[in-house]
């Protein structure tokens, strides 16, 4: 195992169970008389056993079908939700690109959303104001910066989110199927920026596009049903994943609650 200074993310036997309560009354019962042995909830294990290590400065792609646990894993890395079992170790400031777009306030202007988005990601007001012009230029939404976000197109919102994330000087960047929304010109700009970022930063990249993956990542992890199915060189993993999507049925039973 490499030394801690070199590792950006280390996950060891990560597992995450969501507690599902059938009624709010069950929650109250669990608080008052429940125990782990005889719970009033059902557990849904979104992640079952995930182990991997990402060294600082590497780019890693994450593939897997809907509901395989990708998003849960990313949320754990960001610190939004806690794993139930196992160990997670993350060093550095994390910037989730797509997630930031979800916090946008559609009534507020682009400028206000930059200020709030930056604050959520941990920037001081002073820092955001200093970088504001640069963010506006990167987003390239022009005069719309002073207009409410409800007048933005989907792509424009994505541009704004990416522009903010590109300016928070993150150590770990998480890009979750975000580039697909932008037009070709913006995608190119993002890819150029990400490639520059990769020289020192760590990238977690989620995509269903094999070409995007091999363009931006060196390694990849394939998650299937909450477990690592394959990990290693991006071309091998992406090829294996792509092949499986051709042959394996879309099994709807995988969302069953244990």
């Amino acid at each position: 195992m490499s030394s801690d200074t070199e590792v950006a993310i280390r996950a060891t036997h990560l597992a995450k169970a969501y507690k599902l309560y059938d009624t709010p009354g069950d929650w109250m019962k669990q608080q008052l008389l429940g125990s782990e042995e005889r719970p009033y909830y059902k557990s849904f294990w979104a992640l079952k056993d995930i182990s991997f290590e990402v060294r600082r400065g590497t780019s890693i792609g994450i593939v897997g079908r809907n509901g395989c646990g990708k998003s849960t894993l990313l949320q754990i890395v960001c610190g939004m939700t806690r794993p139930t079992k196992g160990e997670i170790w993350v060093k550095g400031r994390v910037a989730p690109v797509l997630a930031l777009g979800a916090t946008f306030d559609y009534e507020g202007t682009g400028r206000e959303n930059v200020l709030i988005g930056g604050a959520i990601l941990g920037l001081k007001r002073r820092e955001i104001l200093d970088k504001f012009d640069s963010i506006a230029e990167f987003a390239g939404v022009g005069d719309f910066m002073e207009r409410p976000l409800k007048q933005y197109s989907m792509g424009m919102r994505m541009r704004l989110a990416f522009a903010i994330c590109a300016h928070i000087e993150a150590d770990i960047l998480i890009v979750d199927e975000a580039l697909a929304v932008g037009d070709m010109a913006f995608q190119k700009r993002c890819v150029a920026w990400i490639n520059n970022f990769r020289r020192t930063g760590t990238l977690l990249f989620v995509s269903h596009s094999t070409s995007e993956l091999s363009q931006l990542c060196e390694q990849a992890i394939w998650i299937d049903d909450g477990r690592v199915r394959e990990a290693g060189d991006v071309t091998d993993v992406a090829r294996a994943y792509h092949r499986s999507t051709l042959f394996e049925r879309d099994d709807m039973k995988r969302f069953a609650v244990a």
Partner: protein, 303 residues
């Protein structure tokens, strides 16, 4: 564009380390250190997130008035109208406890208004708290948003209205009575513990509200009843000694008594009342914080 290569980073970069659902601390703390860290933590965190608190507070205040033409005028007109109403309705018919002769109707209006400023502040928080985390669910689910700051933000927002009410009350006293008691200078000492109490209540109610909508219905049911169980329109001084003692079980009684003593009667309340009220304030503040933190991990998953 930021040049990534210019950065010197990582030696002091933040580390997140979680083992079996528990945060791993850099070192072990003994119980005394843990207690002290717990007591200081709400303040340390609020200070750490001060820019975020300010940014969201600014947006919330703008939101409140952006759709209306008169904006801030409403915030002043509403309490003013209630003050005038109480003066007219209760004028002459009511007696103040400390003044044997029937005092001026304005005195009584100020007396009621003092109670209302505190009580309305409380109900605004109590009504909103259960749905507070649902309102911000997209923040809590999608980003590393510190949800424990939301009760602080919404209490600060409500503070602006309470401050307007309080300022109006002092202004009326100054205009119609002609002078203020020196004790109004002590108002900040009342305000800060009251804020602490309300933030604590909001921590408690919002965490419960995240799991069950019943919290909202419960507050909607008991808040109007509470208005009559709280000495807003009357004085608990006029009750029998046993009933009077019972009134202090209502956590709001002490706060209302103190603000009236300071503004309307110009005296400092009984030491025992102050001590009891301070205890309530601190108890709810830290208990609410403890409860919220305990539920926090589950909140992100259910909201």
């Amino acid at each position: 564009m930021t040049n990534v290569n210019d950065r010197q980073q990582l030696p002091d970069a933040p580390v997140m380390h979680i083992l079996d659902g528990k945060t791993v601390e850099a070192r072990d703390y003994n119980w005394l250190e843990r207690a002290i860290r717990f007591l200081f933590r709400p303040f340390a965190e609020a200070w750490h997130h001060r820019d975020l608190i300010a940014a969201i507070l600014r947006r919330e205040l703008r939101e409140r008035f952006s759709g209306s033409m008169a904006g801030w005028v409403w915030a002043v007109v509403a309490p003013l109208i209630s003050l005038v109403t109480y003066t007219i309705v209760f004028g002459g018919s009511a007696k103040l406890p400390n003044k044997a002769d029937s005092s001026s109707s304005l005195d009584y209006a100020l007396f009621v208004f003092g109670g209302l400023v505190a009580f309305n502040f409380f109900t605004e928080m109590a009504y909103r708290a259960p749905s507070l985390l649902h309102e911000y669910s997209h923040y809590i689910k999608q980003t590393m948003f510190p949800a424990e700051m939301l009760p602080i933000i919404s209490t600060l927002r409500a503070t602006t209205y309470a401050t307007i009410g309080l300022a109006l009350m002092l202004l009326c006293q100054l205009l119609f009575v002609g002078w203020l008691h020196w004790t109004v200078l002590l108002l900040p000492l009342w305000f800060i513990p009251f804020l602490g109490f309300l933030i604590g209540i909001t921590w408690l109610l919002s965490a419960m509200g995240a799991f069950t909508r019943d919290t909202a219905y419960l507050m909607g049911t008991i808040a109007p009843v509470l208005m009559f169980a709280t000495p807003v329109f009357y004085s608990h001084e006029t009750l029998s000694p046993n009933m009077k003692l019972l009134m202090y079980a209502n956590v709001l009684t002490g706060f209302i008594e103190i603000i009236r003593d300071l503004v309307v009667f110009g005296k400092v309340s009984d030491g025992l009342v102050i001590a009891w009220t301070m205890f309530i304030s601190m108890f709810f503040f830290w208990f609410g914080y403890w409860f919220f933190r305990r539920q926090q991990n589950a909140i992100a998953d259910v909201i």
